[in-house]
Symmetry: C2
């Protein structure tokens, strides 16, 4: 899994999914500009999550999760199909991942929390892949030692997220390659360089490990069918920038006799800066799970907002919550729907100052992260329980 943060990825970006004149670009290795999420659905050829899909969720789980109603998860492939399968008694696996090129921030945690929710509600087994090989291949400046360090640290965050240890297995590519390789070469045999070039933007200067990598990320889509010894549906909750991987994997799936993996795509969590997603490459705009309360206070205090330049102007003109990362951060993570609507309106009419929202965000974040850190500390004792062994789940 790629971290689109990575500014060093030496892939030649042909911005294949987005026209030259478009003001944004999204690939598995880079997110640039102000993303138009609706346009991205068209460009990638995915589908939006319709009200009928939300109804299916409600029928099955009795509720609609805020990250669905807030349209943080907003796009999909075959989500309707996999819910229908489920209603007819066919359970699905969840599969998600992480490229261990840095420490974990709240932007990473959000889709994980949703995956955890899906695991609970659908009683799903989850495969969590750490693509340490990808990070090494796509970043000439990152050493194996550093990646190994991030891998160990990231595993603690995954466990601290609260996944069910009986139903969750963590795969580290370089450690578990023997469980993936045989599937990967079968996938690879079906993908020409032409296709890979068009989908991922590889060029003459790409190293051959980068070109050979996509099947490694595709392999866990078919692992459940091998583990269960029967065709097994798989749902991938991940940010929409990862879609190119699944597009290629879906084409290959039928040729190999497997179900196409279904996806549910999220938007990006905004960073605390002027624009753009939360990113490890701009640590001052991201809240990490290892940050101290003091550092959280400091980062939130320096956050960009949609407020006016002075208290007086704010009172007079009102703020602009739409472009305010503090607003969105609170909305996605901590506010209830009602609280968020109220915050929106009060800001608009100048009845709320940025300092107040920042104080809310700081307090909520400190509580969440302090709590998370306790679980993260405890996670050190249960790493073995989560690591994939291959013989059973």
């Amino acid at each position: 899994m790629s971290d689109p943060d990575d500014p060093h990825a030496n892939i030649s970006q042909e911005k294949i999914s987005v026209d030259q004149k478009d003001p944004f670009s999204v690939t598995p290795w880079e997110v640039e500009g102000q993303v138009d999420y609706d346009k991205l659905i068209d460009k990638f050829g995915t589908s939006e999550i319709t009200s009928s899909i939300l109804d299916s969720f409600k029928t099955i789980t009795g509720e609609i999760h805020p990250l669905l109603s807030l349209e943080y998860f907003y796009s999909h492939r075959d989500l309707d199909w996999i819910l229908e399968k489920y209603r007819h008694g066919e359970r699905f696996y969840l599969y998600t991942g992480r490229g261990p090129s840095g420490m974990i921030h709240m932007g990473h945690i959000m889709p994980w929390l949703f995956s955890k929710y899906l695991q609970e509600k659908f009683n799903s087994k989850l495969i969590f892949q750490l693509t340490d090989d990808e990070k090494f291949l796509f970043n000439q400046n990152l050493s194996k030692e550093k990646i190994n360090y991030f891998t160990r640290e990231n595993i603690l965050d995954i466990i601290a997220t609260g996944f069910d240890p009986k139903k969750t297995k963590i795969l580290v590519d370089s450690k578990h390659i023997q469980h993936l390789y045989s599937i990967a070469i079968e996938i690879a045999r079906h993908i020409t360089f032409s296709t890979a070039k068009a989908v991922f933007g590889f060029s003459n200067s790409s190293n051959i490990g980068m070109i050979g990598f996509p099947p490694i990320q595709a392999s866990p889509c078919f692992l459940p069918s091998i583990i269960e010894k029967a065709p097994t549906p798989v749902l991938i909750p991940a940010a929409i920038d990862q879609d190119p991987y699944w597009r290629v994997t879906r084409d290959v799936a039928t040729k190999m006799g497997y179900y196409k993996p279904a996806q549910i795509h999220s938007k990006f969590v905004p960073g605390l800066g002027v624009s753009g997603k939360m990113s490890s490459s701009r640590p001052e705009t991201a809240l990490f799970t290892t940050d101290t309360p003091e550092l959280i206070d400091k980062k939130v205090l320096s956050a960009f907002t949609g407020g006016q330049a002075t208290v007086q102007l704010q009172r007079k003109l009102g703020g602009n919550p739409d472009v305010c990362p503090v607003f969105w951060y609170l909305r996605y993570f901590f506010d209830t729907g009602e609280e968020s609507e109220e915050r929106f309106l009060k800001c608009k009419i100048g009845n709320l100052l940025c300092g107040e929202c920042k104080a809310d965000l700081s307090n909520h974040s400190k509580t969440f992260i302090t709590d998370f850190q306790k679980r993260r500390e405890k996670a050190k004792d249960s790493v073995d329980e989560f690591i994939y062994t291959g013989d059973s789940f």
Copy 2:
């Protein structure tokens, strides 16, 4: 390791090593036309084995092996260097391999016998790689089941060759990938698609597994340094068509802090047909280790020779041993130097009939293969002993 026999390999051959006007082409996947071995040295940029290198062999081993004096092994990279290292007390590993796309014939066995000889004389540890993944990736028509079958069968032949079980480990890529992958991605990071395209002739229609494969074949070059926890010289005895792999590997070696692997290159064993090397794709011209005595008789009887159309003409004009596969087969495998010279002269002056040479070849081959088959049967009990385990040698 590639079997240049393979007519199905779907690689786009740009015949990069040989000019368009040249009447032959040699790549790791294809050997075409009448090979000019001297020209190949120029084209590949390797060195011929000089008399001073033969002297070094003699100083160390007390003799010059017939396959050296007959110039079957005729080209090298850094062979002088590795012999010098040896003379100064630095032992080297041997590394060779096999692409398991068919059964084993005498053309495969010959370099193995030489490797066994080197192992004995230089007290070398040997890594024998079976590139089952390569065979799967480069041949869309070959199933995993078939490759697994050939892998199991080929392992029996390797063991029957007589390598020292204490000093020989067999690696099967798909089974031992966890011991290679970490080295492979480090190699891959140093090779751009440009380079791979130029050296191996990859194109847009190559599948991405083919493009990602070369580092897997390069990895065992560096495994000895990892096993021994110190830079360790490696000598690769193999047919010259495999040179492109080592050319790339040598470039990468210094960047990764390893010795460049040295090579000793062989020519090809001729098939029993009109021209060309012994090849599994023309089984009637190849003597397999599993052939029955009757089949050997039949194949040798049908062999092409350098003889005249009739006995009378042969007696009158003499034959042409230079183009006679029966002559070369006897020379490489069974005749002593003296016997071969005598056979050459007697044929030239019409004093030897093709039937006599064929009888010699049949008898020698039947004895050799019958004997080999006994060892091959016994080999079934010692497979485990030879399989690489990774923790020690």
